[in-house]
Amino acid sequence: MDPLEAQLLLVRLLFLALTYGFIAAVGFVVWRELAAPRGGGRPAADPPGPRLIVIEGGSSDRAPGSAFVLSIVTAIGRDLDNQVVLQDATVSGRHAVIHHRDGAWWAEDLGSTNGTRVNGRAAAPLRPELLRSGDLIQFGSVRLRLISPDL
């Protein structure tokens, strides 16, 4: 192999090394972002603590992804005196209550017209249902997900 040919081969390999080096660097930045989801000066993520995340807001003005922070007893319904007000026609005025007892969260339907469902299963009125973090809770056509870091 004459020297020019060798140099040309070297330059071609250098191009590939630099190109894939760049792609690796891009991959590294992505990996670091994923490894430290809260770092990098981004605005704060969802509020900490137990909360309800809107999955489907129905005709209420709650955008999917918005969150309600839960207190020990949280009343849910269309009336304005509930802690979580859902302005949807399929939600009753006093629809349900989510409360904390014996170290766990419970959802209790208050005899609503269109019912309350936990993970798709209908909850009997006035019979508290045990909830786990990640459960999908449906009031009428509004769907929310319970996120509770301590469970």
């Binding site: 020019l4 140099q7 040309l8 081969l9 330059v11 071609r12 390999l13 250098l14 191009f15 590939l16 630099l18 190109t19 894939y20 080096g21 760049f22 792609i23 660097a25 891009v26 930045v29 992505v30 990098g40 000066g41 981004r42 605005p43 005709s59 955008a63």
Partner: protein, 415 residues
């Protein structure tokens, strides 16, 4: 945006193009110096842009600018090698493209304005495309008349139409999002929105496609249809639209096939380019031989014969990449487009409302365009002529792609 990784990545994105030009200096080809001059101006331009973006945008994706820098630097070197006579113009448009990223990202006008005047944009873009039917200029004698000329500058209205369509659809779909998701109107097993709400969308998309079909600009038509369908799905999350859209696409393609000789030729060449290797199939056959000749490592820039392919500096630039930079280089380019699209979609997930749909639409538009032409050049799908974003020669294409990238940068910041 954290500063250090951005500037380090920009440098890393710029270096491979410099190494690619290296074979030019070693073999004393004239494009070596031109490429060096080009890179020496484009690099600082990107650095300046990065400084401005970092100062003005509270949050912005640190990867989008380096990815664009990688593609545009490589494009500069490729153009210096493939079309040396046009290189000064390409350098000018590349620098203007950097400015266009800045304009898209930093213009002190709220993004909402784009959405508010969407009918104005849509009608003007359609009017410009319609104007090419009467006053259009062709690139080669007998070819499609896609260009408008004004005072020595030529301009391809189908390119901005792509951006305008994204803006129009994003604005319209955001307005009607709740309607779309609900789908009260049943059509057999499909749930759709009532037709009066679908009509403006169908008229806009339909008239764009019709115009482009009459113009024989099949690549742009395919791209616009793909953008429209993807955005409809993103906004509604209803698979029924995709099914319906695919059925309509098959029906439309069958119509085109029976009515347009161009479409028939394209299909025949895709199935067997060798049957007419000296005629209609010439371009594709030459491209395939170039891709095969490149092998894994490629011949090195300036050491292959890609210039025998017609339109190698515009639509067929990917064949030149495969021949001179090899499978490894071509795969890297594909990877960079994929990352660009994924980062754009990630930005869309973090934005809300119009900005989210705009970001999704732009990401889809850029990657789909790259996919259509790269797939066409390597005979994966029937060939339809469009440019490869950021790499092909062509002012309108570069400015449109870069301006879209700028908007993408901003969409995530403005929420």
């Amino acid at each position: 945006m954290p500063g250090r990784p951005l500037f380090a990545l920009l440098l890393l994105a710029w270096l491979p193009a410099l190494a690619a030009a290296g074979t030019g200096w070693l073999s004393q080809a004239p494009f070596g110096t031109a490429a060096l001059v080009g890179l020496a101006t484009l690099g600082p331009a990107f650095a300046l842009l990065a400084i401005l973006v970092r100062r003005r945008l509270r949050i912005a994706d640190p990867l989008l600018l380096p990815l664009a820098c990688f593609l545009m630097s490589l494009g500069l070197v490729l153009q210096a090698r493939l079309a040396p006579a046009l290189f000064p113009r390409h350098l000018f448009w590349s620098l203007a493209g950097v400015a266009a990223i800045g304009a898209g990202a930093l213009l002190p006008v709220p993004l909402r304005l784009l959405s508010r005047y969407r009918y104005t944009w849509a009608l003007s873009a359609l009017a410009l495309v319609a104007l090419t039917l009467v006053a259009g200029k062709e690139a080669s004698p007998g070819g499609p008349r896609l260009w408008l000329e004004l005072g020595g500058l030529s301009f391809q209205p189908a390119e901005p139409l792509k951006l305008v369509l994204v803006v129009f659809l994003a604005g319209y779909l955001e307005d009607k999002q709740d309607l779309l998701a609900r789908g009260d109107w049943k059509f057999g097993p499909l749930r759709l929105i009532p037709w009066p709400y679908l009509a403006p969308l169908a008229v806009m998309l339909g008239s764009s496609l019709l115009l482009l079909a009459v113009q024989r600009d099949l690549g742009a038509a395919l791209l616009l249809y793909g953008i429209g369908l993807s955005l409809l799905y993103v906004a509604s999350l209803r698979f029924s639209y995709v099914l319906l859209g695919t059925a309509a696409f098959i029906a439309g393609a069958a119509q085109l096939h029976s009515r347009m000789p161009v479409a028939r030729i394209r299909l025949a060449i895709w199935l067997d380019p060798w049957s007419d290797a000296q005629g209609y199939g010439y371009q594709l056959v030459q491209a395939l031989m170039a891709v095969a000749g490149g092998g894994f490592l490629g011949s090195g820039l300036g050491l292959g014969q890609p210039t025998v392919i017609p339109a190698v500096h515009t639509d067929f630039v990917f064949a030149a990449i495969a021949e001179e930079l090899g499978l490894a280089g071509a795969a890297a380019v594909v990877l960079v487009y994929a990352i660009l699209g994924l980062r754009g979609l990630r930005g869309a997930l973090r934005a809300t409302g119009f900005a989210a749909l705009l970001a999704a639409g732009i990401s889809i538009a850029l990657t789909l365009q790259a996919l259509i032409i790269m797939g066409g050049v390597i005979k994966l799908i029937p060939l339809t002529g469009i440019t490869l974003p950021f790499l092909s020669y062509g002012g309108t294409s570069l400015i449109t792609s870069t301006f879209m990238l700028g908007l993408l940068l901003r969409a995530e910041a403005e929420r």
